[in-house]
Symmetry: C2
Subunit: 211 residues, 2 copies
Amino acid sequence: MLKIFKPSLYVILDLDLPGLSKDPLTLAEDLCTGGVDILQLRAKNSSGKYLFEIGKKLRELTRKNKKILVINDRVDIAQAVAADGVHLGQEDLPVEYARAILGKDKIIGISTHSLAQARKAHLSKVDYLSVGPVFKSPTKPELKPLGTVFLKKIVKISRLPVVAIGGINLNNLPEVLACGVNSVAVISSILRSKDVLETVKKFKELLHYGR
Amino acid sequence: MLKIFKPSLYVILDLDLPGLSKDPLTLAEDLCTGGVDILQLRAKNSSGKYLFEIGKKLRELTRKNKKILVINDRVDIAQAVAADGVHLGQEDLPVEYARAILGKDKIIGISTHSLAQARKAHLSKVDYLSVGPVFKSPTKPELKPLGTVFLKKIVKISRLPVVAIGGINLNNLPEVLACGVNSVAVISSILRSKDVLETVKKFKELLHYGR
């Protein structure tokens, strides 16, 4: 289980995101300094070698800063860099196999986009589920937003920590927090902001005092 | 080490290859029936879920037919489907980490494209190296062929089994075998042939009698 103060800030360092303001490692340093709780490395279009190299650097950085590091999709990269866990999508390796490889102590999260997927996640050995997109997402604009009424419903029935994702920014953050989520996952509104460090700090402020 | 009669037939079932004559599993059945020794699953553009599903089916099939199954790139998929090993490219997870994850009993192969890479491979814990492209390859036409003079040189200095790869067909096979390789890796000239089973059989004939 995620032993993280609720609500926590979960940032997905998506290396495929166009318009990243800095290089990945500098971004990650800003995120750590600003107070990110969980950092996910996502890079669907990168080679295993690059993922490994950047993952190893992020592992050093997150260990030093006592942050959680999760690797998207690639269980082998998570093992190789000794990450805290993996985040799996519906099209990734099935949870039971990832669990068998990683053992019980690693974190496994899964993306869910419907009530049925959220229910199914509860029958698998995951530690948390992400639910989204809550709002229209700049990174996945083709997906229909689920909305906060739906999010609230999932939080109510979920026995697992819920990470809200998709189009979350400083303006709609209070509405998301009001749903009782354990964590908010953010990509664009932090990574594309002019001052990443400042934006992370604002997110953290709202997470701790703005509920 | 690869406990395979020399020379063996190594076929790469590349799911991204345009113009595959049949569905992957039917192709694999033909390959097994025809006498492939090592089957590699390669699908750079497939999801982890799909790779896992097709990998599991190939595992059943290759186990039944006593063939070696190797997964390209993805160490986690190899673990999940209990493949015999992985094949790594120069841009994949470094060998030492793949070895740490898989343990000493699994096969790890690496692609090499130069003398320097072949030498470096000998310092790592791999079980074989592939060398290529020997000829102009239909699947990687941008790469400069290394030629059979070079191949022969590598075979001479290599303490590890050498798998020749790249543009190998029934016409140039005798020239490749004359270099003393342990195995020939074939993609297009088998998978794109009109009668896959017949072509595999012809390759096997030449491998056993045509040297």
